[in-house]
Symmetry: C2
Subunit: 455 residues, 2 copies
């Protein structure tokens, strides 16, 4: 399903207003559009158009839209925009988006922007931007809602109304002590449903699930999804609360991580800027590494054939079934590896399950191998007679079972050695299955055809 189908009408009208330079119409359309839709529209526009659309909005709207744009467009805009204007937009952006953009700017521009901010804004930006990408610290926002520890429900609500309009969410509220350590948390729901004179300390949960600034973003997303949280607090090295991460950022991370896992499954490296926006050279770099490495794995298949040169020369018909057999081994291996890697990524399969999974894999792979042997035996009989049919059928069962076991065990072994199980990509497993397939096939051929030749 294509996101195009989900697009709310209005893109054509926007394009028309832009080409006709109809500023009144443009303003009307832009002001009534959803920020996410405007960002999608601008994805395919040049930077001048982006600036024109952006400047239609008042500052707060500009800051919000800027936060929605992809990083490449943000940088293009930053290049064209005067530093003062950019600084004003930056401080109005949600803290997490602000840091993402700031971190990608050049040092000169970073300094120029910092000079245009007041002391607290500078400090906040410096501290937020110090966290490594991919960690909770880089993902969090410092705009969260705090209520006073000693207050009653009614006071807390009044405090919230006065202080929290800028908070990323006010649905999860935090209570801090004098050292800025997290004392408890409370949902706005509990606050609203409680009697006005109840003390918030009676309502709050003391045992708060939190992450640290250096927790991996993938784990943050998993925690939020697992416990159906609206937001999770982030603590620094001294356990002081420094920010929150909200469910919508967790959803984006989950999508990002799924993309990374899918790419890994085909030996594609991490594409920070996506498929369309990455430069051709980046794309080349992210694809070439494993491809070249696998060339050397595949050379072993050739060496295997060379080792069996005599039987190949005698029974040339064996070669006709080679692509089929090693392809099938590779396909079965890819299936097994993909199932295991995803099962381990979602937590459905754990390292300690390897023995159970092995038993299941042997059973299923044997059934698959027999089915495929049946499918190909007739062709082999017709093409090369009963001996070749026997060799091909036996080989098919063996290579499918071996390929499946390679695919199933490799992610476990990698996981056990503290590597990412996802390194067991379909191409890697297929290449290993190719090599073992060649050896198994010609060994069986030597055995069966050798026997019948002397009979």
């Amino acid at each position: 399903m294509d996101l195009e189908d989900l697009t709310i009408p209005g893109f054509e009208a926007l394009a028309l207003a832009l080409t006709q330079n109809n500023d009144t119409r443009l303003r009307e359309l832009v002001e009534n559009a959803q920020t996410a839709d405007l960002a999608t529209f601008l994805l395919n526009q040049d930077v001048d158009t982006c600036l024109r659309v952006l400047r239609v909005l008042e500052q707060q709207g500009q800051a919000e839209l800027l936060g929605y744009l992809d990083i490449e467009t943000q940088l293009d805009i930053a290049e064209l925009m005067p530093d003062q204007e950019l600084a004003e937009l930056l401080i109005r952006m949600p803290a997490d988006d602000r840091v993402d953009m700031f971190n990608r700017l050049g040092t000169r521009q970073q300094d120029a922007l910092l000079r245009r901010m007041v002391k607290e804004e500078q400090d906040e930006l410096r501290s937020l931007s110090s966290h490594e990408e991919g960690t909770a610290g880089a993902l969090m926002t410092s705009d969260y809602a705090v209520i006073p520890v000693g207050s009653k429900v009614e006071q807390a609500l009044a405090y919230l109304r006065a202080t929290a309009p800028d908070a990323e969410t006010i649905y999860q509220l935090y209570l801090l002590d004098d050292e800025h350590k997290l004392v408890g948390t409370l949902s706005l729901r509990d606050l609203i449903l409680a009697r006005p004179d109840t003390a918030v300390s009676e309502l709050m949960t003391r045992d708060v699930l939190a992450v640290h600034v250096d927790t991996e973003q993938e784990d943050v997303a998993k925690l939020i999804s697992r416990y159906d949280l609206l937001a999770i607090p982030v603590l620094d090295g001294e356990d002081r609360m420094v920010g929150i991460i909200t469910y919508d950022d967790a959803m984006d991370v989950a999508e990002e991580e799924a993309t990374e896992d899918i790419h890994k499954s085909a030996t594609v490296g991490k594409l920070t800027d996506g498929l369309r926006k990455s430069s051709l050279f980046t794309l080349y770099r992210k694809l070439a590494g494993w491809l070249v490495l696998l060339v050397f794995v595949n050379l072993f298949s050739g060496a295997g054939i060379a080792y069996f040169e005599d039987i190949v020369a005698t029974y040339l018909v064996l070669i006709f079934f080679l692509p089929l057999l090693i392809g099938s081994a590779g396909n079965a291996g890819s299936q097994a590896a993909t199932l295991m890697v995803r099962g381990m990524a979602t937590g459905e399969v754990q390292l300690k399950d390897w023995a159970v999974m092995l038993g299941r894999e042997v059973a299923v792979a044997s059934a698959l191998g027999l089915t495929m042997a049946g499918a190909v035996a007739m062709v082999a009989y017709y093409r090369g007679g009963p001996d070749i049919a026997l060799v091909v059928a036996l080989s098919m069962v063996s290579v499918v079972v071996v390929g499946s076991l390679v695919g199933m065990l490799l992610p476990f072994i990698l996981g056990k050695l503290n590597f990412d199980p996802a390194t067991a990509s379909a191409p890697l497993v297929a290449s290993i299955a190719d090599v073992t397939g060649v050896l198994v096939y010609f060994s069986i051929a030597t055995f069966v055809l050798g026997l019948t030749a002397t009979a």
Copy 2:
């Protein structure tokens, strides 16, 4: 990263309390645990243990935990539990979980349970369970928070306190007319931050983004993620509001859909019950279809070799490089297909972009082909002399480009024909790349070696 690492300690203590039949300790542990953690713990326990742990909780807690369990465990429990007890838990479960479980029960038990419910509960369950799995109707809950259209902020808050404690979320509020049609929506945040005597009709958004009961769950998840929604309303065929879907269900759907996409990328069919819980026969059925189909695609590779039998017999050394060349074509094709399929799934790449993507693909694939040709040419030179090196290098560039183009274009063609682009799985692309690789390789060999033979 494994979910095990995220587990809050306590599983060992739980297991100990169970084996020691220490009911006091068990109660203490169960009552203090997070529901999601209890569900994870019960994933590896037998049904009797599940029942024991369940019955420690009071009814509301039991219903909640039951909703968190996987469907197989739910059904095992349903089999052992008296109908009256089960009916009472069912009506306390969140409406969406309740329907999921109810739909998988046998007809006899469904009737027995319905008989034990009051009329309204029966009607609600019948109506919710009528929606097809995978649609918004099957995903939604009917427990949402409504506020009266004509009320002021203060009245609306009082109304909410009185009516909404059971609602799935009270952070998004809905305003309905007499025919139950959606008039507007309002966030609790806006309500809280507004002056008490403001009319809610002034605060509400009239232009509400909503889905229909038969909207695919994948699209619902995309909308929620795209617009950072907390919940999205669901309308029936006559545009009456019948439920909401919340962000946490959207997160689960997104994970489910990512798993489905990843499985498809390796020709694995949809596993409703997951990898561990699926029966061996189900697993066999979901894997065998494409594997057998690809056997017949791969047979064409054999036919290709047969067609070039003469040159193969003359230059047996060509065979040594066959697995390498077709493997590399398959790997490059898998990479290209995986990038395109994922790009189209996330909406980053759209059907109309095919020409741009084609140009980029040709450029990157050529560079990759040249790199890999360089890597292998030396080996080919050493093994077969300059002619063979030339054949292998030329073939490598060609098959990598052809394989990449197959991988890149197939998802577009499938999408254009209204098939799922994800059908362009790595094994399918690799198998097609194998066939074309055989033809390209031996054609080049015939051409080059034919020329030099007569020179």
